[in-house]
């Protein structure tokens, strides 16, 4: 969407006047204005996806307030955006707490996730004991999948399964041909799972693992 030099749009984020161009999302406009909105599944090279919901903000339009994902919501004239509020903070905290049991490494978050959890006061162990799930060190943000599809065009990694059984898996036939020379997803993975569990020639999680019930 970037680079589309459309009409200028003015709207408000956290009380500040922000300029944007037609076709930009709130997240993009905020980024240009130097206003930070956290996001886990967003990357400037891939299309908006809307899976993590961490980038949720309050959008007020015609007197009505609703929660929207800023990575997909288009900038509109007159829009009033609030990036922080009790409602938004509660969503971000709950999302972090909910995804934690799946995403932790050795009982803790790493990197950006850790910083976010601290900022929003998320108790990442809240549902750990209750769910007793094996951590796959994956929040299913889909950045690897979309990077491979949209930027590389190799389709060597994808989603398998549905609902709570959704997983990310390599397709060995394709991965064995293209991955060693690319490693694009290694850098993009927010939890570092891919780099740790695959090396371009060996893949620790493939569609065969999923079909065999090992994922």
């Amino acid at each position: 969407m970037k680079g589309d030099m459309g009409d200028a749009i003015t709207f408000k984020i956290d009380g500040r006047e922000v300029n944007a161009r037609q076709g930009m999302t709130i997240l993009e406009a905020a980024g240009e204005a130097g206003i930070e909105i956290p996001a886990l599944c967003h990357h400037r090279k891939t299309r908006p996806y809307g899976a993590c919901r961490i980038c949720s903000v309050e959008a007020e339009k015609d007197g009505k307030v609703k929660v929207v994902a800023s990575c997909g919501y288009p900038a509109e004239p007159g829009l009033v955006i609030r990036t922080r509020s009790p409602r938004i903070d509660r969503i971000r905290r709950a999302v972090l707490e909910l995804v934690a049991p799946q995403a932790m490494l050795d009982g803790d978050f790493g990197g950006d996730l850790k910083k976010l959890a601290d900022e929003y006061g998320a108790d990442i162990h809240r549902f750990e004991a209750q769910l007793q799930v094996k951590s796959r060190r994956c929040i299913l943000c889909g950045l690897c999948v979309r990077y491979c599809d949209e930027v590389v065009g190799a389709h060597a990694i994808g989603f398998v399964g549905r609902g709570i059984d959704r997983r990310v898996a390599f397709f060995p036939e394709k991965a064995s041909k293209v991955c060693a020379n690319c490693l694009g997803c290694f850098k993009i993975c927010p939890t570092g799972k891919i780099g740790a569990e695959a090396d371009g020639t060996y893949f620790g999680f493939t569609v065969d693992d999923f079909l065999a019930g090992r994922l």
Binding site: A51, C52, Y73, P74, A94, L98, L131, L140, I164
Partner: protein, 640 residues
């Protein structure tokens, strides 16, 4: 050779021609060939009747027709003899000789008539059966008159007349205005005004636009769209054509659920016949308007019923919802304006064009016009598909049409709207059924599933059932829905199994709120509704599970024990022989008791113990009394 129809006049003369070829004095034996009746053997019944008509040399005297679903599926195979509409229920192939003979002589086969369970009286005519009598079957009614594989049946009843009227007598704007005036709201779930959606697609920029039929019905217990598509596919096509004309689309798609093979078959036959008659293709009815339609068969995902997921699936991608801040009506399939409505909505359109918005608005309530088809299932006496005017109360539906609760048990709740809806208790029974009325109570109209529950249903378990359903049927894309459901399922399972904690309720509410606020699509934002409504209306059941470790419905296995009352046991050996775990101890003449260590709580003993003894009881929340002294003999009461 099918007649190509290329003008309004030719359509009218085709209709007259069809009617003139038919002998109206001849009785027609119709066999319901909907999926429900097919499972009861409708194909065999049909063949037997055909064979019998031949054998009795009555080919010239009787006509036979396989029709769509009548709705009273519980009584299948349903056979109706026109024009008197004599209705026979639970017909088998063996009944064919008597049935055919009687039809030819215009007498009744008394033993096959429907017996009213309330009055005990036999009812001969289908419209007089209470199940049908209290319905208003304007959309669904033609199912029983039509052979869905024969376009002539549809045309004979005035079919494609509304299309002709729209194409030749009305401008697209006028058609749109009529649908808007009728305030037709989407029958698939949310109840969004169809006219508004059409207008959005019509006004959206772009030369190529699409119209889509959503036939991915998947709510547990619901099958209205299936029966419409199987029984009257031309009505859906005609509605779609009218919609395409109004919004300016020349191409359409029908997305049919993978599990609906008969709907696919009948739809494909209908499309072929519509092409042969010129109702599809170029220059339809000489109007210059052209339209084609493709059938897209689903691959078995519930979430694909969500509009953006469905459009992704049609594009050949995985059926996953995407953000719809720019509506699919503006940017849908391949980024082009795409108007999607469900089967029932489309099938209603020809009626509005034919009879006018004023007529349509005369039925229903202020906010919900027209009729709605529900699949009335669960613990009611009469189960099946019912079409009611909006505004009828839940009580009238459940007791008036459904005939009340099975075995005279107590009504406990009615689930409407599937996994996105809620469960409404007795105090809501006098609510008029409408989009806004149900939403106000925390439930929703949904696509029309209506599951009736009696006193033996545990509401915490029902909530768990729906959450579990969605754990498997969510796409798993966004975190609030996927992980929220995962945690909700665990909490509800814990409560059902006696591990619930008082603070669980607050956690449920918090997660439900975040799911409603932040999920990507409507599946996620509404996924907690079954939990929230059961908490709202049956909160004391949650409390009993958590605080007293008691299941009031005595359903949850972990909290329920089976016990044989030694005073009532007649030592008849029935439960002892049927127990799969050999947990029933006793002998002939010796009072039986259940070894609680061995008991797997399957409930077989409870089921098989004859009602007149009622010796097996379920206990929850209190200790099981100690067993009788080994070898206690039955004391038989002497009569007189």
């Amino acid at each position: 050779m099918p007649t190509m129809v290329s003008s309004l006049e030719e359509l009218e003369s085709l209709r007259k021609d069809i009617l003139s070829r038919r002998d109206h004095t001849r009785p027609i034996i119709t066999v319901c060939a909907g999926t429900g009746c097919q499972t009861y053997g409708a194909a065999d019944v049909y063949q037997a009747i055909v064979g019998e008509v031949k054998a009795q040399r009555l080919e010239t005297k009787l006509e036979i027709k396989a029709t769509g679903c009548h709705g009273f599926c519980e009584k299948g195979v349903v056979v109706v003899i026109h024009p008197e509409e004599i209705c026979y229920v639970k017909v088998t192939a063996a009944d064919a000789p008597e049935l055919v003979g009687a039809a030819a002589r215009k007498i009744l086969v008394e033993r096959l008539l429907y017996v009213d369970p309330v009055t005990g009286q036999k009812i001969a005519r289908e419209p007089d059966i209470p199940f049908y009598k209290n319905q208003t079957r304007i959309v669904f009614g033609n199912n029983k008159r039509i052979d869905p594989k024969n376009i002539e049946d549809y045309v004979a009843l005035g079919g494609y007349g509304a299309l002709g009227k729209a194409l030749r007598r009305m401008s697209p704007e006028q058609v749109l205005a009529e649908v808007k005036k009728a305030d037709l709201r989407g029958r698939g779930g949310g109840g969004f005004p169809a006219g508004k959606k059409w207008e959005e697609t019509r006004n959206a920029p772009g030369d190529i636009k699409y119209v889509i039929v959503n036939c991915d019905e998947g709510d547990p217990g619901a099958y209205m769209d299936r029966s419409l598509m199987e029984g009257n596919p031309h009505a859906v096509l005609e509605g779609l054509l009218i919609g395409a004309y109004a919004v300016g689309a020349r191409e359409g798609f029908v997305y049919v659920r993978q599990e609906y093979p008969l709907a696919c078959e009948n739809l494909n036959v209908a499309i072929r016949q519509a092409h042969e008659h010129g109702f599809l293709g170029e220059n339809i009815l000489g109007s210059g308007f052209g339209f084609t339609v493709k059938v897209h068969r689903g691959a078995g995902a519930f979430v694909s019923g969500e509009s953006s997921a469905l459009m992704s699936a049609i594009e050949g991608k995985v059926g996953e919802p995407r953000m719809k801040y720019v509506h699919t009506a503006v940017s849908g399939i391949k980024g082009r304006p795409s108007n999607l409505n469900n089967v029932e909505t489309w099938a209603t359109v020809p009626l509005i064009i034919d009879k006018g918005a004023d007529w349509f608005c005369s039925i229903g309530t202020e906010g919900s016009k027209g009729t709605k088809i529900f699949s009335l299932v669960g613990k009611v006496n009469n189960t099946g598909l019912v079409e009611i005017p909006m505004g009828m109360t839940l009580r009238e539906i459940i007791y008036g049409i459904g005939g009340g609760i099975i075995k005279g048990k107590r009504f406990k709740g009615v689930q409407t709207g599937g996994p996105s809806g809620g469960i409404l208790p007795e105090q809501c029974l006098d609510t008029p059924v409408g989009f806004d009325e149900l939403a106000k109570l925390g439930s929703m109209m949904g696509s029309g599933g209506m599951v009736v529950m009696d006193e033996d249903t545990c509401m915490v378990d029902v909530a768990r059932y729906f959450v579990n359903f969605l754990c498997e049927e969510s796409c798993g894309k966004c975190i609030p829905c996927r992980e929220g459901l995962r945690v909700l399922r665990q909490i509800l399972t814990d409560i059902c199994e006696g591990r619930g904690k008082p603070e669980d309720i607050d956690v449920i509410r918090e997660i439900a709120e975040v799911m409603a606020d932040a999920s990507l699509c409507a599946l996620g934002t509404t996924a907690a509704n079954p939990v929230l409504t059961t908490l709202r209306y049956f909160g004391e059941e949650y409390e009993a599970h958590i605080r007293d470790k008691r299941c009031p419905a005595r359903f949850c296995k972990s909290l329920t024990s089976y016990y044989i009352d030694p005073e009532k046991c007649t030592a008849c050996l029935i439960c002892l022989r049927n127990c799969p775990a050999s947990a029933v101890v006793g002998d002939k003449g010796i009072v039986h008791w259940i070894d609680q260590e061995k008991c797997t709580k399957c409930g077989v003993c409870f089921e098989v113990c004859p009602d007149r003894f009622g010796a097996v009881v379920r206990i929850s929340g209190e200790p099981v009394p100690p067993p009788p002294m080994p070898g206690t003999r039955v004391v038989r009461k002497h009569e007189g």
